[in-house]
Symmetry: C2
Subunit: 722 residues, 2 copies
């Protein structure tokens, strides 16, 4: 079509008018399940030749779901081409079904592989039958088959060849679970991507398409559980009015292999049960929880169990009645036991009545209980001992409780990472934690081995992620933060995976298989975590976020009633230097680690510089390995963080040709916010700490155009996620 | 493709496997701007033959926007077919541009039509030039051209022929505006479709695609203003931190002809200005508002003005300082005057210190001020004197203030209409109000003529709608409630339009041009308003909603501190009968109407039965026109409402073939909720009123399976919209 225009100032301009279809806009809703037409023609030919028809065995809801997913996936990847119109082909079938349903002809040909499958793992194998090739997807469970189907679709999306495909993959973790900190009014604590997905008002009768697509996305990466409600819990969720709503969600999620869990408010027996106490040793309380649990299982037969935040940040718990965490957890565990449910009991505790270094309190409180919890209790431990900082040393509890299942708790939502406007690829952080050696059983005792149970042969294993999902159309606010949901799921499946490989497959599925995009963007993602550390918390600084909402810098905050809520508690800046002495001359938090680690951290010269100020109070003039003083080095790190964001922007701007216009523009706007805020961090922190160092900024560090006072006077009464 | 399955129980089943593309799912995001391919091949041919190329004149942002919209619309309607590949066609052009830009050749051919255009109206005309036909869209303003383009696209979407097209259409109202009751924390007062569109946290740097699509949708129906914030206002919106965010939205909306307005908290001079008073006659206060207004216009040169809720339901206002509404409104108007801004001053006032019938208070307070407001003040009056009930007699202020511009305030969000789960087509309600005769200048003095200014020659005219939009993917929660946004806009453009015609064009654009769908569905929509009246508030009952959240029935509520907040205040059920005596023997609210109306309402025999209990306290045994007693008739009306919802469900279920599967299923789920709640209304209200009537239910009315006590004990602590 031709566009004739534009007669102004006597000119007549001629344009070629190209119709652009609005549907080319990609709002990101489809996540990594884009299923765009395979662009590589040769591969497309290979795929379609190898999938002439589909044969499936079994008729469970999960098997039907697998078929539905193949339908969605292949119709997109093959662009709805009716390539195969034989009436009843016998060759080049895609065959799927579980071990118990699959035809023995097929079973015999995958016997060896199937014997290696554990739990909900799967086999995908090209076999030869009567001289023709078929692809078989099988597993020991129907959910395993579904996982195999999703994996198969991924292989196509990332353009792997099907020739001689032979994949055996099993999850290394039992409980792979999202924690939603979602309140019943749909606000999300620490949520930055809109509001809660769960529309409690219209449940149970209205099933939002989101619920289904949420389940699809989770199942595609192996997530098998979801805690629907905030750890700061409301007991109403356990009332019949809400349980029928929870049931509706459980019904949606079940075919996708996802179990529903709830947070249990410890004082629920009082609040909704009409009891006078919630004492875990009180007979009425015990009965109340048993009855309530039976009621839940009557409604939701595959209910997963409870997640409990007790005696933590004001939440009620067994200590309110002179009991301890074991009393509380075991009481609930007993109620769940007959139904196969579990208790996830959080170890995130610290007390305003305890003057000990906050970093030490969870270990001190929980490690003595090792071996005392019932078999269906798993203790949920944050990756670090403080609170989801851009970087923390691993939590000393990992490896220190050989007789107690410990579950990793990661935060996917970016409470301390710039909210959802900062591009930070978190699998890099998760990988760093998992790879760390605890030395608890000698060298090689990595956190991953603690968490996957192999170090101490644990009865239950689990990895939890505090989700970054909200009702924003693209789920996570920022398109790139979908990668954190994705990568979390992949690492929960297998904590030994490499974050770089995960980034690779995510980019291919989400954006393109074009290497010109993948290589630089993957590099940017991998670097992004260090970048945010650089401009927020270099050299082991931590918890210097503005109060309450944790948006932006607040190193000056020192007047909050609980000392350990104050940034000044953590950075301890003074005329001498900066940092928290946690060595044996200080809080001696280092003693909570294995001797090898303690020794390393006790000595400033062997402490990795990334953790320097976490463990040491360091002179401003301390010489860093790069020859700079701490002050100069720190200032340069802040600047480096800013520079790196500028590099991200340049890179992204050069990638326009590879990305649809909507996502290109949206990521671009987000990066500009990130740069603005990186500078804010740099300027506010350096101006503040400069008051103590009394030194000039080194060459190469830009000077702030705002005063410290201006930064200090900024307020954000409606910052999201409160 | 062939699907071979399903070998269980020794069976082999063969299916034809049809790939269904996930994109066939329609989530409703595109509203009435679906622009699906024209299915009628003959029409498609006519359209494409008549639009061989586009020529436009002018280069303003609005003209570019018009071009962009044509691009989006035509690419969808013509399915991206590159039908026209001439290099430079001279025939069958679509030509657009404003009067001042358009080529004189074209201008001369539309001269007559253009002379009839008022304000932002437009001409669309097929002309003959050198023996060839062209279509010209023109207007006196660029926004008029944009409206013309949207109208042109609508003509195509609803499958009207272009042959001899000759449309002249001008808005009859100046200010066609949405009121968002959106708070800065993104909760929406009385919002039932998710949370606020305005993501204040990421503004001004992140422009959500929603903002653009919101502007597109509004411009397509002629809405030209938006009040971004709740009438229960927060002064922070007037601080520089927020004004730069408001500016970002204003910049997005400007090309679409949409002005931004804000709610002004009367006490802002104290809260953010540091003054000790907000007295509108205080010199510092006057200066503060002048400075603040200048500051706003410095940021947003086309800022629309303020909407103010003062001395109403606890909001601060001039009466706090012994002043009156005129003092307050004129003080702000003076500040806005130099910039062309307006004050929309709400008349929704009633006082807990005034024992008068609440229905009378606004009239009593405001009518004496007629003629005292400045020229740029418009008083915003709700359609009825109580509060957005399913049915209310028109507000007596309409027609009673000949010297004061009065703006209609409708509620599009369904505070008292079942929230967003009930299908209620509100243009039917709006039409009923507009068509009502006030008799203020004799017969024919309709509310529409009051509002469009023609009755008393008003200087400004306006229609406001409290929007039903939230961040749900489909904007309004329920697909059919998009029609209320649409219909509101159309009636704000022209309050004399017929709601049935609006439904027709909405269905065609949103769903299909298939008459088999249109005819029954249009009938259902038209009936839907009476249906909700039947099962909630028949015969003039009103305000018997449960307290606070207004979700579901609460006729028994009578213990709230302010008497006029209690349902019992409104229905006055007793052993004798039911209803509020507002005749001269009662509160004499009827005296606020023109004598013709007052006379009609004072006499029970001439009072329309739809308003019966609004004006009369009526014996349970009063004979209705249909021969039933009030009790029996009322019970039957409740039942009728329920039956009608059942009919809606049957009808919808028979329409599956005409609707995409996602919207079909979603509407179906909503209708089932509506039925459940219609029954709840029927049962709860009849059980409650039966205590007074002491009569059995008549034949044909189903008995409740719940007790009154059960209904009374239901609580909804997290009902949305609080």
């Amino acid at each position: 079509m031709v566009l004739i225009s534009n007669r102004i100032f006597g000119l007549i301009l001629f344009f070629t008018f190209i119709f652009t279809n609005i549907s080319f806009a990609n709002n990101g809703y489809d996540l990594w399940l884009q299923y765009k037409k395979v662009e590589n023609k040769q591969l497309l030919k290979e795929y379609t030749e190898n999938i002439q028809a589909i044969q499936f065995f079994g008729n469970s809801e999960t098997i039907k779901t697998a078929l539905k997913e193949l339908n969605i996936g292949l119709s997109g990847l093959f662009d709805n081409q009716n390539l195969f119109e034989n009436d009843s082909p016998k060759n080049h079938l895609l065959v799927f079904g579980s071990e118990s349903q699959l035809d023995t002809t097929y079973l015999n040909l995958i016997k060896t592989e199937l014997s290696k499958v554990k739990k909900d793992g799967f086999v995908i194998k090209q076999i030869q039958l009567n001289g023709n090739s078929q692809i078989v997807i099988s597993a020991k469970t129907d959910v395993g088959v579904l996982y195999g189907v999703f994996r198969f679709l991924r292989e196509l999306q990332i353009n792997n060849s099907l020739k001689d495909i032979n994949i055996v993959d099993s999850p290394k973790i039992d409980v792979r679970i999202l924690n939603h900190w979602d309140n019943l009014d749909r606000t999300v604590e620490r949520g930055y991507a809109g509001f809660s997905l769960w529309n409690w008002h219209t449940l149970p009768d209205y099933i939002d398409q989101r619920y289904i697509d949420y389940a699809r996305a989770n199942a595609s990466i192996g997530i098998n559980g979801t805690v629907l409600t905030n750890v700061n819990a409301n007991a109403l969720i356990l009332t019949p009015q809400y349980l029928e709503k929870v049931k509706a969600l459980a019904d949606v999620f079940r075919p996708y292999g996802i179990k529903v869990y709830l947070t249990a408010r410890f004082s629920a027996p009082i609040e909704i049960g009409g009891l006078k106490t919630a004492d875990p040793l009180d007979a009425d309380v015990i009965k109340w929880w048993k009855d309530k649990t039976a009621e839940i299982y009557n409604t939701i037969p595959d209910f997963g169990g409870f997640l409990v935040k007790a005696n933590s940040e004001g939440q009620p718990g067994p200590q309110n009645y002179g009991r301890n965490h074991v009393d509380g957890a075991n009481m609930m565990a007993e109620a769940l036991e007959p139904f196969g449910g579990i208790v996830m009991w959080r170890a995130f505790v610290y007390s305003e009545h305890d003057a000990t270094d906050r970093a030490k309190q969870a270990y001190s409180e929980f490690v003595p209980y090792d071996g005392k919890f019932k078999d269906n209790v798993i203790v949920q431990v944050k990756n670090g001992a403080i609170d989801f900082q851009p970087r923390e040393p691993f939590h000393p509890m990992f490896g220190a409780m050989p007789k107690t299942p410990l579950m990793m708790e990661f935060q996917i939502t970016q409470e301390y990472l710039g909210f959802s406007t900062h591009l930070v690829y978190l699998p890099k952080l998760y990988e760093e934690v998992f790879e760390t050696d605890t030395y608890r059983e000698g060298k090689g005792s990595t956190v991953a081995k603690v968490v996957d149970g192999s170090l101490h042969n644990k009865k239950i294993t689990g990895v939890a992620g505090v989700t970054n999902i909200g009702n924003d159309i693209n789920w996570t606010g920022h398109h790139f933060l979908q990668a954190n949901w994705y990568g979390f799921g992949r690492l929960a499946w297998n904590p030994h995976l490499k974050s770089e490989d995960i980034a690779d497959e995510w980019i291919r599925q989400t954006f393109t298989n074009d290497e010109n995009f993948i290589i630089p963007i993957k590099k940017m993602m991998i670097q992004s975590r260090e970048t945010v550390v650089n401009y927020m918390n270099p050299y082991g600084l931590h918890h210097i976020f503005d109060t309450g909402h944790h948006y932006g810098p607040g190193p000056w905050v020192g007047s909050l009633p609980r000392p350990e809520w104050n940034p000044t508690y953590y950075h301890k800046a003074d005329g001498f230097g900066l940092g928290f002495n946690r060595t044996k001359t200080g809080s001696n938090a280092t003693a909570q680690y294995a001797p090898e680690i303690a020794k390393m951290y006790n000595d400033i010269s062997t402490t990795p510089e990334k953790d320097l100020l976490w463990f040491h109070h360091v002179s401003w003039n301390h010489k860093l390995k790069n020859g700079y003083t701490l002050w100069d080095g720190m200032a340069l790190k802040y600047q480096e963080g800013v520079n790196e964001v500028e590099d991200m922007i340049s890179l992204w701007n050069s990638m326009e040709q590879y990305v649809d216009s909507q996502r290109f523009k949206e990521v671009k706007m987000m990066l500009n916010i990130q740069l603005k805020e990186a500078k804010w961090w740099r300027d506010a922190c350096l101006l503040y700490f400069q008051q103590f160092s009394k030194q000039d900024l080194p060459n190469g560090v830009e000077k702030s155009s705002n005063s410290l006072k201006e930064f200090q006077s900024m307020t954000f009464p409606f910052a999201p996620g409160r």
